[in-house]
Symmetry: C2
Subunit: 267 residues, 2 copies
Amino acid sequence: MTISHPPTPGTALWLYAHPRPDSLNGRIFREGVDTLAGQRNVLTSDLYAQGFDPVLRESDLGQLSGTHGNFAELLGDAYTQGQLALDVRAEQRKVAEAELLIIQFPLWWYGMPAILKGWIDRVLTAGFAFGDLDETGLPRRYGDGGLVGRKALIIVTAGEDGRSLGSRGISGDLDTLLFPLTHGVLWYSGVASYDLHVITDADGLDDDAVARELRRLRRRLSGIAEEPARLFRNLRDGEYRGTRALRADLAPGRTDLNVHLADDRRL
Amino acid sequence: MTISHPPTPGTALWLYAHPRPDSLNGRIFREGVDTLAGQRNVLTSDLYAQGFDPVLRESDLGQLSGTHGNFAELLGDAYTQGQLALDVRAEQRKVAEAELLIIQFPLWWYGMPAILKGWIDRVLTAGFAFGDLDETGLPRRYGDGGLVGRKALIIVTAGEDGRSLGSRGISGDLDTLLFPLTHGVLWYSGVASYDLHVITDADGLDDDAVARELRRLRRRLSGIAEEPARLFRNLRDGEYRGTRALRADLAPGRTDLNVHLADDRRL
């Protein structure tokens, strides 16, 4: 497979979305970046501090704005023709350079804060993150997108406890709630994710618990290079061929989203 | 149960998020509102046209901005004390009035556009959409939140086809992808949803197909009052009691999110 944007070995991008610097998330961001900086070149995107505008709109097309056609495809044209907005191009350069993406956010309404969702909407354009065809004419997506060669660690804080967000928990299990990110965004673009790094009961941690969580995070980050990343199934392996649904002989009878995890394959 | 904000019978709010007025979504919005206006009083929130700011930030707290504490709880205090931003209060008034919510958006990266996610982050504050305790001391959520008494119809367009977004489809089935909205946002706040109204292959429809889709939508809207809404399980029914996970005797062995649907109960 072709690597569209070869990452720079040892470079990480820490993508962070929380409005309050004095929050638990603020501490996680600062101490996490410090820890990682001991072993890597760390770029950061502190979306609130940058005042990042998350609204994908007509002006994202640059001089192509107003052109009739499919908006996602036009964004791909704007990418190719160097028409994307300066803030988007700056983010794309950081993503292109990083081989490790850290994506840190508080769980708001069972998903990402809007400022982070809009970073995805605006930055991961056609042409940059997806859109090519492979040698067989299949679109390069789900395991082989424009960002192939990268891995991602998602760090998420949640006010709820681990039971509410666990298997059969009332709020839905977090792996399924974040499937649109791990699979629909990252894997679609070629990025494999590590197991989620989850901090539950995040609103009620006392000082000792915060210190424990920060130690746990530092240990995780220090060893991340040795961790296996989870793989979903590859579109090109033929497991969906013909119907775009998973072949009946694979994970038979099941309808949960874990059927899309590759069996026993880790990167 | 207490109805915190009694809706006005016959009033609907059409919440809409697409940047291009000349898009398929633009036509659906205009013709849908026209159709509904024949039978109801229709309020609208055209988020792009309004220039809605989707970034929840410190200034959302009004005079409480800078106060130490949990951000979600402070938003609840800001609501109670009339400190929320004017644009947020205007949206809350519309939601309070509506007994039917129409939520229309294109599927971007397997979720809502950021401008719509941020409407949820900013508008559905504690105090307004959730946060009370019932007479037994349980939080009023999942079936009994601040917006109880309302129903919602989600209209979503997708570039992909129905197989990719169906059961075992490569992109994940759409009901599961949108569970954070139907269950985590709406049901959490007390709102029951109708079956999703999905328009697939939305980028490739010719004029005839567009006309067919618009007819199908008008028929759906005209009969919506007679449709049963889907119910998830109620927190207060004891089906999660003790563990915050679904009792082992209900939907035994399953881990898909449909275990949270109430069996055979429709509103």
